[in-house]
Symmetry: C2
Subunit: 209 residues, 2 copies
């Protein structure tokens, strides 16, 4: 559905298209979203015109390039929601998503409204709703702190994005530790102090949990 109806493309055109997507994925992952379009074209071994013809705007390219990750993301959430223990499911979601983001810098930017008002990339809203449900259950089970709010998750994801290291390995490791800390922060604890008030974040997400 993010895919344009696969109009009959000539075989060579299809090839080029694929190579462009590969190049884009590689570069976005490594360097973030603001690689020059030129660079992507060069890496794919095509001219700029070809790139622009196939993907008129960078947003199109980004959306297409990250379709996989978005599905992975949704799969993770689904998996977490399926877990019998909602708290364990939520932890799983946090860990996995943080790792996913750690491995792919561009995806993080794309995911976190780097493109303001992106056309609800592959059911972001739906996914958020699912997580909200999961959180609800985790709260009812008494494992998730009661003053948790869905925006806290966004906050954590944004924060995770702020972590930068030299190598991808270090990045993943740091992200893992961060996720651990985040989970610790969210877990209900008899003597925990109340949190400062939640701030409305820029995302279109509803704030209730």
């Amino acid at each position: 559905m993010p895919d344009r109806l696969p109009q009959k493309l000539r075989s060579d055109a299809k090839d080029n298209r694929d190579r462009i997507l590969d190049a884009a994925r590689a570069l976005f992952s490594a360097d973030g979203l603001d690689v020059p379009m030129r660079e992507i074209a060069r890496r794919a071994g095509v001219g700029p015109a070809t790139l622009y013809r196939r993907f008129p705007t960078k947003q199109t390219l980004v959306a297409e390039a990250f379709a996989d990750q978005l599905h992975a993301c949704r799969a993770i959430v689904d998996e977490g929601c399926a877990d019998a223990d909602p708290w364990r499911g939520l932890c799983l979601v946090i860990e996995k998503i943080c790792e996913l983001h750690a491995r792919d810098r561009g995806f993080t930017e794309a995911f976190l409204s780097a493109f303001p008002g992106a056309p609800d990339v592959a059911g972001r809203e739906y996914t958020l709703k699912a997580v909200a449900g999961l959180a609800r259950r985790a709260k009812d089970a008494g494992r998730l702190r009661s003053d948790f709010v869905l925006d806290d998750l966004i906050l954590i994801l944004m924060a995770n994005k702020g972590i930068h290291t030299r190598s991808t390995d270090a990045q993943v490791m740091a992200s893992r530790r961060f996720a651990g800390l985040a989970i610790q922060a969210l877990e209900a604890c008899p003597h925990h102090a109340p949190l400062p008030p939640a701030a409305r974040l820029a995302t279109g997400a509803p704030a209730g949990a």
Copy 2:
């Protein structure tokens, strides 16, 4: 000491210099470090040449512009260290520094080695050492979790940097909540799960706490 020996500058030159620094501070705070030099010059009402003559490289300008914040930073740490209760002191440091960073986007970038190998900006090492001591005491007091590592603090600061919102107010609010969560994560708790291993961060800080 980051200051060039204040060679006798002609009065007008001094004026311009000051106006440049003001402009730089304002722009860096609002938009981060990658404002064009041109923009700063324009805002200061001077030509590009003047700017470049006074601050040959952007790094020079940044260092000079953030001298205040760096002192504030150090003051915060000192204040925290002076607190009789080391845990309370540490919390204070986290809260205040997160807020400081939330209010000044450029400073965060400058602070977190945005310029790799910046010449130990105003005793960064010293400050880190002080915090390490504070953490040590907080641990001994049994309030800080025993598997805390100084790099965790860097991690939290980096993470805090990842948080972006539309307005400064929202930013501060979000940062406050984040700091609250971070503190929660760091507090010793009888039944908390062990954390994933700490990753060595890019900073030159020693990893032990």
